[in-house]
Symmetry: C2
Subunit: 190 residues, 2 copies
Amino acid sequence: MNSSLIHSPRRDRTTAAILDAAAHVLAADGAAASMADVANAAGVGRATLYRYFETRESLLEALAADAVAEAGARLADAGLDGVPVELAIERIVRAIVAVGDRYAIIVREGILPDREDEEVERLLGMPIRAVFARGVRTEVLRPDVTLDVLLELFGGLLTSTIKLVGQRRIGLEDAAAAVTDVFLQGSRAQ
Amino acid sequence: MNSSLIHSPRRDRTTAAILDAAAHVLAADGAAASMADVANAAGVGRATLYRYFETRESLLEALAADAVAEAGARLADAGLDGVPVELAIERIVRAIVAVGDRYAIIVREGILPDREDEEVERLLGMPIRAVFARGVRTEVLRPDVTLDVLLELFGGLLTSTIKLVGQRRIGLEDAAAAVTDVFLQGSRAQ
DNA sequence: CCGTACTGAGACACTAGTGTCTCGTAAGAG
DNA sequence: CTCTTACGAGACACTAGTGTCTCAGTACGG
């Protein structure tokens, strides 16, 4: 029987465990992590890992697709268009940081399988860009820094925040609040 | 004659070229870049590369040491202690971003040769931390976010700025000004 | 309680990168 | 101009990771 088309609960569970472990290991050890490392972390044999993902590349692809889908879903649920820009930005931070490890791997220099780039742009880039563009248009965000540059700086803040949360040096809520505040108000006192 | 102890001008030039090329390649391709890639980028043969650096590890070590030394020297020359915190932060940004590629590699997950960590802390961590601590003490920087967290967020901004400058999407001066401004004042308009 | 299907362990071939060595050649110093 | 020195190219052994395969053991559904 072709089990690759049938999603038994057991198979789904193992798949999820592998993806979780892979995200964790790759976020920690970087691209240096091997398939054996991932298998160990997931508590399965190396052969089983290959039964779930034909190649290392397809594992990374699935990981990226998973991360993009989850982050995208959170953003879509966030109702960004209906709220003030400040609140929208806070929700974006919360959504991305919540995905954490998974997202960090995507950023760590495009492991993205080429066409997956479109998905990133469609599900993540566009909604975020829209909020920022609205911010500039409604004079909530400063107009003297290019939108592109502002987004890149925002991304840098998010990456370091994910790192902090991943190392448990700060909680998710505190982190989201802090980074939103710093990004909007800056680090200057009062 | 033991040429490893004699620093002929030619050897120094080649060493510098290799380190430059290595920094560039590693910053672009990440840790995936091979010794052959570095040799190609430097315009030397692979054998020659090994004549200058016994192992891949020693190349990375030299690269990190070089980056830390240069960034450290720039910070030391910046006279951080004598100027207001805002100006000191701007000078830190300028110093780190100027080192660029080299610095980015250090950050990309400690390739640091263990004891080199001390040097990073002594030459980079301490002076920067001192400025931030002074900022909090003199009520220039917000006290409601941990110094550690603030430093990490600052580092995230620096990393994305280096990326922007490396891709020529913004000039060094504009970048330094923008990131300083955003970090201190935030992204909110006026 | 039985049988099917999945599993972990390990052997295996293959690939890519590392580090070593040699040799003919080119370049720079005196 | 000559002689030394470093160079590039390539062969080489070695290592580590990838992906395939087999096989005995085990969990789980019927």
